[in-house]
């Protein structure tokens, strides 16, 4: 078996997300599912309930009035946001531990992932009246392949880094040469295995190479640049550092200015720390 095939086979051994998260995901994707059914599934899971109430009452997601019921929380946040929060909580336990292969201490991959999610969403908010609903989750999940390469496979990053620095490659290109597959593709295969919607899987697959995507779209452009901004901020950077390439075509399609970039960077560290407290428990 090639190393690539071996890596991809291991992905399918990763456990599924918790049952409650899977149920909420299924219900929220079903247009005919009623609010009562969704509320009941969440209420039966104390962890999900507590997280949802903390999120709706946080200053990032919430509003002025405090909310204490699941039903009200769903109304306030909207089904889309609840869907994406549920996915995030399903994934968080995998993202929290230390990722040895990428030299990330406990919580650092989660911190970096939140930075990507918030930078992508922050960019969207500054560019358009209503940001795409799945952008936060897509951003949060783009680094999920690092869990498999860095933890389950305990990949030694030294030869990858050496190749990247010697030949001026991006870290992902060096991963592809050494392992036969990069963390972005590994992440996409894992999310397919977990049954996530295709639009999110495709962003995860192509965020480092938007030019390879058959159908790119604005979400891919936003997450590509959001990922770059998260790396510039330095929040939760691992051994791969900033060894990635910016795709200028995305920057041009989004008509980005210095104000957009500085505006996102200014608010990023504060927002990341607020959400860390919701996702770390």
């Amino acid at each position: 078996m090639s190393q690539r095939a071996e890596v991809l086979a291991r992905v399918r051994e990763i456990p599924q997300m918790p049952a409650a998260v899977q149920q909420v995901m299924t219900l929220l994707q079903d247009e005919e599912a009623d609010m009562g059914a969704i509320s009941r599934v969440i209420e039966l899971d104390p962890g999900l309930t507590a997280n949802l109430l903390r999120a709706v009452n946080s200053s990032y997601f919430g509003g002025m009035r405090s909310i204490s019921s699941v039903r009200e929380a769903i109304v306030r946040l909207g089904a889309n946001r609840v869907f994406h929060l549920a996915v995030s909580w399903g994934v968080a336990p995998h993202v929290r531990p230390a990722i040895r292969g990428y030299d990330l201490e406990t919580g650092e991959l989660l911190r970096h992932s939140l930075a990507v999610a918030l930078a992508s969403e922050g960019l969207a908010k500054s560019l358009m009246p209503s940001p795409p609903p799945n952008i936060f989750t897509a951003g949060l999940l783009v680094n999920v392949g690092k869990i498999i390469l860095g933890t389950f496979l305990a990949v030694n990053p030294a030869p990858i880094l050496e190749l990247a620095y010697e030949q001026g490659l991006t870290f992902e290109e060096a991963e592809e040469r050494v392992l036969g597959v990069g963390h972005a593709e590994v992440g996409a295969v894992l999310l397919e295995h977990w049954g996530l919607p295709d639009d999110i899987v495709e962003v995860v697959r192509y965020r480092l190479h938007p030019e390879r995507a058959r159908e790119g779209g604005v979400i891919l452009d936003l997450v590509h640049v959001g990922d770059v901004l998260a790396k510039l901020s330095g929040i939760g950077l691992g051994v791969d550092g900033m060894a990635y390439r910016l795709d200028d075509a995305c920057v041009q399609r989004l008509h980005l200015t210095e104000d957009h970039i500085a505006g996102v960077l200014e608010t990023l560290p504060g927002n990341v720390e607020e959400l860390m407290s919701i996702f770390m428990e």
Partner: protein, 159 residues
Amino acid sequence: MNRINVSISDMKYSTKSEDVLVTHSLGSCVGLAAYDPQTRVGGLIHCLLPQLRGNSGKDVQNPYMYVTSGVPVLIRTLLTKGAKRNRLILKAAGGGHMMTSNRLFDVGKQNSDILRRLLAHNHMSLKAEDFGGTLPRTIYFYLDTGRVVVKSLGKEWEL
């Protein structure tokens, strides 16, 4: 050793020789350590951006976020704690970049350039620096001797 963490857009100073000021997560940000070897007063700042944009219409909420507002506060703070300006030893690291030549995203170079200009304008200069590249950096600043150590990718070197 008593470790004190300096987060992004933050500054800490100390007059205690057992303290070590540490800042992680230097991507395009710059970290500047300033030390008076005679009084052993030192401070470390971690700036995210070069300066508040002129047309943003905002006030500086947190001076440490920007090089042009944070560094003067760092220096003034150390002077009030007994440091002398002509004795201050300045060492900086960070200012990294992605693999791009797009000027909009070269925040790291903007940060290091503006720091050098600001210091030159005030007749000061960096005794040592480690800027650029795509690697993430952590700074350790030891108050007993003023030693500044940069760690990255499992290696460390002194500035």
